[in-house]
Symmetry: C2
Subunit: 298 residues, 2 copies
């Protein structure tokens, strides 16, 4: 990673983080519920989805400010999905980013409700925030919500999580594994990119390129996740290494071996950049962001 | 209930039920997830929230058809809230409308995801369905989503459920109890009425009347729920009677006594009708719908 890109990440992360909490409602919200939502929303993380929204606006020469509400909403949805995924009935994880998971701190009932409330707020916030923004047409707001609803729902992220749970303990083939990851991880990244595209009034060719880029980095993200679960650093990851193997979870390394997984990762990042180049977006931050997905250590 | 109103309910219930399932996505949705969503969405019930949307459109001389997507979305949100409320970590109920609850049939993980997917679909469906309807302006669609996000979220329905759970085993006063019910039950009814109002281009005075009517029937609904839990018929209710007392749950009868609860119920329905009359809506189906909320036996 270049110093310039490292500064870019730091600066954009700060910009995103300062807008997250103001996106929540506070008046009339039970104290514990608010604290639980805040706990997970502000628990750090790469803020990759918001980062992608901003990068698309920047790549298409549009003001970043326009992307903030949608970026915040995506992070709310990502956060809710982590809270619910960590529940005892799901992946039953005690640690997330080195901190106790939401239900460990607030109890299961509150964790379920905090997730529900973050998901609900994501959609409401998009509608509320853009209602008062003369730069964003109501048609665009409706498109953002349709896009997010589709990518985050039963045929998208939730569908991917369902397939993941159903696949546990089974021998999956590569196609089945890619279905899981395309939806569980890829769809919300695609929602970030396409949402940025709608906000930036991207051309159909640009939308198409952004979608293909998202699909590639989504799969790449998951392969790197699997690789880190084999040979990552627990202290950096903030979670246990080797847990996938212990659970006999289907992963790329389990299916293809570690070396072939790394090759597939490199290939996907090359494909992602090729998609950018086709739409003339190869000089934007989207290019180093693809490398970042591949090279991350946490 | 008059025969005419009984026919009205039957006819409108049929109209709503025929549109529920087509509102779900099917392509690319894992089979078990779809079945779980369908199981709870089609498990019967009064369909009160969709009914209120249609009644508002009818009261304001607008085509009912315009209300269908929003009505369906509300029923999806109501259904998700029941699935999550029934979970072991929440109210831990085995029966709902005489049938095993979602997690009893599909397991907890699937029940959580089916709820998440129904909530997500509600917003996505509103956006998708009205995007293609030239009668509904994009501004109106955005308003519907803002309204629903607010009423269903952390300062609305989810907040009410949170306060309900936190209140269990505690001695609540009437104000605390009304907070719970105003939000847990009232807010989604208000979302139905105000959403109908937005779709029907109601005047501010009409919106105000619909909101007050919703607040009154929301509280009335909950008082009747509490009363039925004391002296209702298990076979008709499809769930156990006396469970609130067993759990030492704060209820109107526990706080005010049975007679005073019934008086409060009658008073609220009178207030609801007074609100209708002020906006000239007293001859619409909204009036017998208020009586229906009071007199229901299940």
């Amino acid at each position: 990673m270049t110093d310039a890109f490292a500064s870019y990440l730091t600066e954009k992360t700060a910009l995103i983080e300062e807008h997250l909490l103001p996106g929540l409602e506070r008046d009339g919200v039970p104290h514990t519920l608010y604290e639980s939502m805040k706990y997970s929303l502000m628990a750090g993380g790469k803020r990759l989805r918001p980062m992608l929204v901003l990068a698309v606006l920047e790549a298409l020469d549009k003001p970043l400010k326009r992307g903030i509400p949608y970026a915040v909403a995506l992070e709310m949805i990502h956060t809710y999905s982590l809270i619910h995924d960590d529940l005892p009935a799901m992946d039953d994880d005690d640690l997330r980013r080195g901190k106790p998971t939401n239900h460990k701190v607030f109890g299961e009932a509150t964790a379920i409700l905090a997730g529900d409330a973050l998901l609900t707020r994501a959609f409401g916030y998009i509608a509320e925030a853009y209602m008062d923004d003369p730069e964003v047409k109501p048609e665009t707001t409706v498109r953002l919500i349709a896009e997010l609803g589709k990518r985050a729902g039963s045929a998208g992220m939730v569908g991917g999580q369902m397939a993941d749970i159903e696949g546990e303990g089974k021998r999956l083939n590569l196609e089945e594994l890619e279905y899981i990851h395309r939806h569980k991880t890829g769809d919300l990244l695609i929602a970030a990119l396409r949402g940025g595209g709608w906000l930036a009034e991207a051309t159909p060719a640009q939308m198409d390129a952004l979608t293909r880029y998202g699909l590639c980095i989504g799969l790449a993200f998951q392969i790197q996740d699997d690789i880190l679960n084999v040979e990552g650093d627990e202290a950096q990851l903030g979670k246990a290494v080797g847990s996938d193997a212990d659970r006999q979870k289907a992963t790329y390394p389990a299916l293809l071996g570690l070396e072939a997984s790394k090759e597939r990762l490199v290939q996907l990042i090359a494909e992602a950049k090729a998609a950018l180049a086709e739409a003339g977006l190869e000089h934007s931050a989207l290019a180093p962001l693809a490398d970042y997905v591949m090279n991350r250590t946490k």
